[in-house]
Each structure stands twice: as C-alpha cells, then as structure tokens.
Symmetry: C2
Subunit: 405 residues, 2 copies
C-alpha cells in the first residue's frame, strides 16, 4: 500500500537525525562482535547512579503504594511537584511554586509541549550555534525556522544576537523565542557567564521575546558555584524553564518539568493529558523518594558528581597531552567537550574513519550547527565511558589526528 | 506579563476536558474528608495487579541491568518489541514483525504520534459516537474535525458510516481516517461483532480510508473468544494499531505501541525521538520480564481478568435489580457500562447531585459524544472500585434515580 498520500503536510517537516547513521553503523559493528570504545553517549554513568538504592525504592513503592501503577494527575503527583520546588530552591537558587511546575516526559517532553503551544509554522527560534540537535529537530517538526547565534567561552554572543534580531525584524520575520542551554551546553560544554546572562535578559526584554531555558545540566556543575539560572534573574516572567532529573537519576526514567505561568501554563496543562496522559508513575515515585530521602546530596553531590569531574579532568588532560595544538572546549559543567579538527577537516569523515580503524565512536558536530560552520567539530562525551576508555579513546583519536593532519 | 500574544494559532484548538470539573469537585470533597465511592476511574484495579511481583522485577532489573536507567532506542528495546510480537501472536491472533512495532508512552502517546503525522488542520476523523474523550481532544488539538457515527450493540453502525462518508464527500470534505475501539469500547463497553468488523474493513477499502484501531481493551475480554482484531483481518495494510499494556500492568507504566508499515512507520520513527526520546526504560524492562516470565497468563488471564469479570457481573446484577427499567450496556470486554437516564434527564446535573447527596462519583457521558445526543448518559467503571463499592454505588444511583424520575 502507498501511504504517502495520507501523510499530513507537517510530516514534511520531520527530518531524520544525521546522528542516526553513525549510531546505526556502530550498532552493526558491535553486533559483529567488534569491541568499540564509545565517547558518543548523551547519558550519565549507570555505575555512578545508585541503581541498587533506586531498585529498593521501586520495590518498596510498588508493593505499598497502589497509586504507583495508576495514572497520575496530568501535571504530576502533587508531592513530587512540592519536592521539586524545594529542590530547585535549595540547589538551583530558584523560587517557584509547585503550581507552576508541570511534570513531563523528560526535558524532551517539556520542550515539545512548549513548542506545540508556541510555534506557528514559519516562526523563527533563536538559539546558540551549535545547539542540541534533538530540540532543533523537535521545533523544526512544528514548522520553526532555526537561526543560530555564535558562541564563545562565555556562551551565546549577545552582541551578535541583537544584530540577528534587528536583521530578522528588517526582513519582517517573526521571532517566537530564544532557546538556550546556559549551563554545560550541549554540544559545546560551555557555560554562559553571569554578565552574559544579564545581557541576554536585557535583550529579551528590549525586544519583548520569551526565553526557553533548558536547564538539563544545571546539576552537573563542577566549578563556578555562583552561576544563577536565567529564571532566577527573570523579573518579567519572560523565562520558561525546561528542566529534568535525567542527568541525576538517569535518562531512562523520563522525568522532566516545565516551569511556566499564566496562559502558557494553562495551555500546557490543558494540552498535556491528551498527548501522553502523564509521566510514568513509577518514575515519579522514585524521583520523589530520591529527593525526599536526601539522596541527591548523598549519592549525587557527594558521589556521582565527583566521578564526572574526575572523568572530565582525565579527558582534558589527555587532550592537552596528546593534542597540544588542537582547539577544544573546557567545560565547567555538563558532559561534553567539543574538539575542533583543523579547519579544512571533515568531522563526519573523521568519525567514520575513527570507528573503522580505531574502534572509537564519537559524534560529529556538524548536525548540531544551524549553518555550515562546524564541519570540523566532533563532540566527545566524558560522563558515560570508563576512565580507562576515556584515556584510550583520546589516545586513538590523537593517533588518527596526527596521521591525517 | 501578558502571554496570549505569544501563543501559536494551534493553541486555539486546545480544549479543556469537560471531565476535569467533575474530578476537581470530587478532589475538593475528598480533601474536606468526605468519603466518596468512585465509579469514575479509567484504571484497572491496583490490587488485582501483582504489584509485589512487579516490585521484585524492578529491584532486580535496576540492580543488574545498567541499561534500565539509560535512554533506550527511540522505538523501544529490541527484546521488548520481540516479546510483544510473540505476545500479540499468542493472545491477539496477530502476526506482526518486531520491526513494525514502536514502543510509545502508553496508548495515548501512540495515538498522538499517529495524529501528528496524519492530520492536517480541517481533516475529518470518523469515529464511534460516543468515543474516548482523550483521543478526541488529542486529534482536535491537531486541527481535526470529529464526525461521530452512532453505535448499537454490535459496534459502529457501518450503514450509517457509509452514509456519512458519502455526505462528507459531497460536501468536499477530506476524511483522513476512521478511529475505532472495536473491543470493550470506551465509554460504551460495546464490542464490535465479527460481521461488523468485516463490513468496516470493506467500507474502508471501498473509500480508500485508513483505520486506526485502538486495542486498549483487547486483553480485558470476558466472553466472545473468537473475535479477531481488525488488524488480523486487514489484507491491505489499511489498519494501524495503537496498543497498550496499561490495562494489564497498570496505566502508570506508560507502555504502549504503534503497529505501522511503510512511510507511516518511517515518519513515526523519525518523529518520535525529538518528541519524547523514548518510553521509560524501567517500564520497558518491567513489561519485558512480565511477558517473558509468563506472568500474563499467571497473573492476568488466570487472576485479574477473573476479578474484573466478577465485578462486571456484580454491577450488571445490581443494575438489573435496582433499575429494572433503565437502559444500560452489557459489556463482554473492557471496564465500562454506559447507563442511560430517562431521555429528558441531564447526566451532568445528575452526576453533580449524586456526588453531593450520595457521595458517589460517576462520569457524565455527554463529553464523549460528538453531537448533542447522550446528554442523559453516565459512564460507570467496574474495574477499579471494590465489589462492595460497586454494590453500594449502584444502590445509591438507583435511589437518586427513583427520587428524580
């Protein structure tokens, strides 16, 4: 049967992820028994997550709490929304009422929900260039046009942002919002400076734009204690937050949130139940007990986070040692380092050769870019691989790098 | 801040659920300490679900399987897709390849995914009148116009369906697909006869329409063993399935699936990751082990299902005893009975009075109807309440019924 004629017009906006090919090839090699070292993940380390403890919570909750197998309210169980409000106050310097928190299917679900109520086809979304490919694809599926703004070590170049806004306005284009990952940005690993954060809010205010702040890596900070989320600096109610516990509990639980107000909150709430009914109850209860019992401090702040910091240091030290002349980012938060090959190099070809010859999987940076810069970038993950694999991986990358350039 | 100006045009299609008011009022009464009997649920019974066993699986899996806290592939873990294929073959007489199964955020997520790639604003969706309100709202959020077709005890009136198709075609309207819940329909509790199923497929073939078959209640069948799903009768590849384990494992796990082919499958796969990344890993692993260990037979077929059948019988017997002259449906599958008050009665007013005076919560049928019929209907759930509450609930409904009519 020929199905194309039944597809909606908006199905034309659905694009495949360029990363899928890399991952498919890696999976095929692994099926053949090839042992690969992967620096390609977007996950925390399953061995730094207290899985045994989470398993005990799950057992306890499923046995005693009938609600743990039932639908929850569409916006999440009230106790979890309260617990997240306290958590954000304590650990993200954010004052927010539980009424303004909507529990979502991870940060991904939060961003899609917001996109659906905000984006008209043809609307422009401004974001860092490069930015998180999955969000760019989600917004593009809704008909958005993505315009990227270059970054430096302090985050989005707010001077260039303003130029871009003026240029788009001159062209008569409608800018819907600014999407930013200020802390531990994916894929760059960069954290926006406080000065830049304030400047960004001023620009948003001047041009009356909303900001969607993706706080995915806010609890993976290794340095720079005094960095406030944009939302904590937001006097107008201009910042909408897409948050998640994925980098703390694990990406598989699918627990995220939207923080919003007024008509936007109202529409998110009305829209949500018909889309996914609710976030998984068992995950919500695990998150609730994890926070309530103080496990965030015990297992994350005093445990996993130190492990990620150590792995970051191993990766940066190895890069400095083996590729002293290469350019790469030095993250103070998040899970990624962006490595730049020489300007004329092609990251996709390099990643492919690296996998075939050296058995190391990395993610080419190009698909994260909103223009044709970044062809020489490759994204390296340090949170998921073992310390040993990080060292070997970087050595092998350096070996191929030296052979080619 | 005034947010309305930022909303997308499509946000106008988001409607609140008329059921929310009933539920809000019930929650308020309960907060005040009023003991309510609820026949309003859309859940199986948490005490007929082997929660202790599920808890033990969760503990075991979280401890030993690192992948249980990580992202899964967007279409679900391969082992679960294989297990569901075997399960559907054995228990739903359906031959399907694991490659054609996409694991979703419950049946709700499956229906939304399909709506997003199929529905253009203004498209007409044909469905039973009444039908499941949450799906109608999901399709309406995407700009669909819902047209209902009356039902009788054998399901959708296929003769009226054909009339409706002709009428819509004459008006130049575009029909996108037929949405149906052939087995244990929500809210009617009706199961479509085999003859009617075949006739429906013929009509779909004649007018070249897709069918979305919602199989939510296929594993809650109490009688009528020889009823095949539409998909098992589908020679053209015209039927797309939205399935779920919610009525088996519990609605809170959020495990459902799409079964599709060709371009539709391809678009579902490409679209899914940016929307929700994947279904919850822990739920996927619990579902996998539940099926793999034969617990569906042990705990559902030989356990829970008998309990639901008993509760159904208690409800029907009580209705026959206390309301011998009233009209109500007699389900052979699913979890609902639709009770009709006298023709001039208003179900919303009755439900409100019933809650206030008798402390019994029911769901008015009106919001499930696609036209202004059904004002006198109320939906009764028998799967979730205790046997005692069913008896008392029906007695109290009958008391108010006799007082008023």
């Amino acid at each position: 049967m020929e199905y194309t004629k039944y597809l909606a017009g908006r199905a034309n906006w659905i694009k495949g992820s360029a990363l899928a090919e890399v991952m498919k090839k890696a999976a095929e090699l692994q099926k053949k028994g090839t042992k690969l070292i992967s620096l390609a993940a977007g996950d925390p380390d399953p061995d730094l997550i207290p899985r045994k403890v989470l398993g005990e919570i799950a057992k306890e909750i499923l046995e005693k709490e009938a609600k743990s197998v039932m639908y929850t309210p569409a916006n999440g169980i009230p106790e979890l929304r309260e617990e997240i409000a306290s958590f954000l106050k304590k650990h993200d310097q954010l004052e927010v009422s539980p009424e303004n928190i909507v529990i979502t299917i991870g940060g991904t679900g939060a961003l899609d929900l917001l996109g659906r109520i905000l984006i008209d086809p043809g609307d422009v979304i401004l974001t860092e260039n490069p930015s998180y490919i999955n969000t760019l694809l989600a917004f593009e599926q809704l008909g958005a046009k993505i315009e990227g703004v270059s970054v430096d070590n302090d985050g989005m170049r707010v001077d260039l942002l303003e130029e871009k806004i003026k240029e788009l306005k001159t062209k008569g284009q409608k800018i819907k919002f600014i999407y930013t990952i200020p802390t531990g940005q994916n894929p760059m690993g960069i954290t926006m400076s406080m000065e830049r954060r304030k400047a960004l809010l001023e620009i948003a205010s001047e041009y009356d734009l909303l900001i969607i702040e993706d706080t995915a890596y806010n609890f993976m900070r290794y340095e720079g204690e005094n960095i406030l989320p944009l939302k904590a600096l937001d006097k107008d109610g201009r910042v909408i937050v897409a948050g998640t516990l994925s980098k703390v509990l694990g990406t598989g639980f699918r627990i995220g949130w939207v923080i919003a107000e007024g008509e936007i909150l109202k529409k998110v709430l009305m829209q949500k139940q018909p889309i996914d009914f609710c976030a998984p109850a068992i995950s919500q209860y695990i998150a609730l007990e994890y926070l309530r019992r103080g496990y965030f401090e015990k297992y994350h702040l005093k445990g996993a986070l130190l492990g990620y910091k150590e792995k970051r240091d191993i990766m940066l030290t190895a890069l400095e040692e083996h590729l002293p002349n290469a350019e790469f980012t030095r993250p103070i938060a998040g899970m990624f380092v962006m490595l730049f090959l020489p300007e004329e190099a092609n990251g996709i070809a390099f990643a492919s050769e690296l996998m075939g010859k050296e058995g190391v999987v990395v993610v080419p940076g190009e698909p994260f870019y909103t223009d044709d810069t970044g062809k020489n970038a490759i994204r390296l993950n340090f949170s998921r691989p073992s310390k040993e694999d990080i060292s070997i991986g970087i050595e092998r990358i350096a070996k191929l790098y030296r052979e080619k350039f």
